[in-house]
Subunit: 327 residues, 2 copies
């Protein structure tokens, strides 16, 4: 019998699920549609576990732990989810609800923080890094000395809502000129206003054709991402910033823009130049199951009740055995 | 014989020195003019130790350790100072030079980081805090779980050089709109351009009299300080931000402006509002010897050579016995 550590990345449209063996090999991956509302999300989590077992050819009883990454405010200690608006969840005791049908340890973590844990494991170096998610919104998770760092109140890495332009566009959060207004997929698509299946790709293409709005928005993406990198390095001083999320589907076009922007800033400031920021950014490899893997690792390391809740942290596997991504 | 832990805050014009007893009582405090250049700084450190001994009525041989807080880039592990431009020091093995005449452990730390350690000790709570120094320049030191946090390359807390306005004034560092251009004493005085002994006080007074430039600069101070607080809370998620440095000589006038600005931002953004930033800022009490005390504590806890230099940290006394400030 294998002890399977299941990891789920619950998104607004789909759940990515992954089964990790005790020796760190990925035994199965699958993807199912997500649910809506409290009951829908809980049912979808159970469906995902069943689908994962079917995919991996193991009984559900082999699942020894479940980790769930989910958007929204998460009380990791209590396994509670708050304000997961994309899922129709206002307040849900997710861990307890899942445990009611499956008697295994269940951990819940914010999806970006889970992805940070997974990205650290995938890199094989989680000494000092941030995972910066450029998705619909923008947020980062920070991993220091192999541990997820939640900060005093769980907002560590929420750089998306740092304002970097007092005259900038109004953000969904109510402030003006937040980093997210520059490089969040949702805000950029809204500013573009022309619809399309992949507005961010469209913007990059049209910018190359000389469209003035596209050029402005594309430059803004690099400015916003560079601002986030600066905030993470000058605030938390992480060694490396790994970028992921939907916007990074642009791949090297995005990374090249970002590095060009960082080099331009370095050229105008010896201090910024000394930080060598352009060498400290990298992209999460496309298709990396960072969030589901991180969730599995978080689930596998159920913390003993910490004496000081606010600083509770989760150990990160510093290495995933080779082949883990191809299991 | 008492084991005295000497702490020195070496500034551009003066050295503040402090003698801490083994039980954490401040046995003496003194202040002497600072020196210029490598030899001048080393000589002034020795003069400060001698003055401290005279003030406290103990022989110099009672000094069991020396901690030195100094502006500039500090390689704390090697006790080296780089680019302390205000002191005419380009590169100095300060710890070794002091030890050449006094055979005791000598630690060197960046002055703002030393002040963070001291501020944490003075508060009696160094669980999760930043010390934000609004001096000629702007920088912060971060203390987490009782330990000074240097980050991967020693830039943790350097929020003064985060740009928060792409159209802002050019900073000494070469960027535009850095936080320091808004609330650093040097940049604000330069923008004011009217000289005077205490330009920042003058600006606040003139603003009350309706001077348009003074009103703009005063609002900028609050904006810059609020931006720094946001960066520290959203990046590192410290529980508390303690403000100190020359600009905070304005006392409640500054703190009231800052809190008003933070409340206005909270009113326009539920997310920012949920952080309750206005309750998480406080001023270092006037006259608090945070930097010299922090230096003494850093000196008293000479680290054993860390296995991973970049994450070396210094334990912070979580409590200074009552009366420590009045010894």
């Amino acid at each position: 019998m294998t002890a399977i550590r299941a990891g789920l990345d619950v998104g607004g449209t789909k759940i990515e699920a992954l089964a990790l063996t005790a020796d760190g090999r990925i035994a199965a991956r699958t993807r199912i549609p997500t649910g809506w509302g409290d009951d829908g999300v809980v049912a979808a989590v159970h469906d995902a576990i069943a689908a994962l077992a079917a995919e991996g050819g193991f009984p559900v009883s082999d699942v020894a732990s479940i980790g769930i990454g989910i958007p929204g405010l998460v009380d990791a200690e209590r396994g509670r989810v708050l304000h997961a608006v994309n899922l129709g969840v206002a307040e849900l005791d997710l861990a307890a609800a899942v445990r009611a049908r499956l008697a295994v340890p269940v951990a819940v973590e914010n999806d970006v923080k889970a992805a940070a844990v997974g990205a650290g494991s995938l890199r094989g170096d989680a000494h000092s890094m941030a995972y910066l998610n450029l998705g619909t919104g923008v947020a980062a998770g920070i991993v220091i000395d192999g541990r997820l760092w939640r900060g005093a109140r769980g907002t560590a890495g929420e750089v998306g809502h740092l304002s970097v332009d007092p005259e900038g566009r109004v953000c969904g959060c109510g402030q003006r000129g937040c980093i997210e207004t520059f490089c969040g997929g949702g805000a950029v698509s809204k500013a573009w206003g022309r619809g399309g299946a992949l507005p961010i790709l469209d913007i990059f293409d049209r910018a190359e054709q000389g469209d003035p709005l596209a050029i402005e928005l594309r430059a803004g993406v690099a400015y916003g991402a560079a601002s986030a990198v600066r905030a993470l390095v000058l605030g938390a001083d992480v060694e490396t910033v790994v970028l992921g999320g939907g916007v990074t589907a642009l791949g090297d076009r995005l990374l090249d823009d970002l590095r060009r922007r960082l080099r331009a800033e370095a050229a105008s400031s010896a201090f910024i130049g000394s930080l060598r920021l352009e060498d400290r950014v990298e992209l999460l490899p496309p298709g990396s199951p960072a969030a589901a893997l991180g969730a599995a690792l978080v689930g596998a390391s159920q913390p003993t009740p910490p004496s000081r809740p606010a600083s509770a942290s989760v150990p990160v596997a510093s290495n995933t055995p080779e082949g883990a991504l191809h299991g």
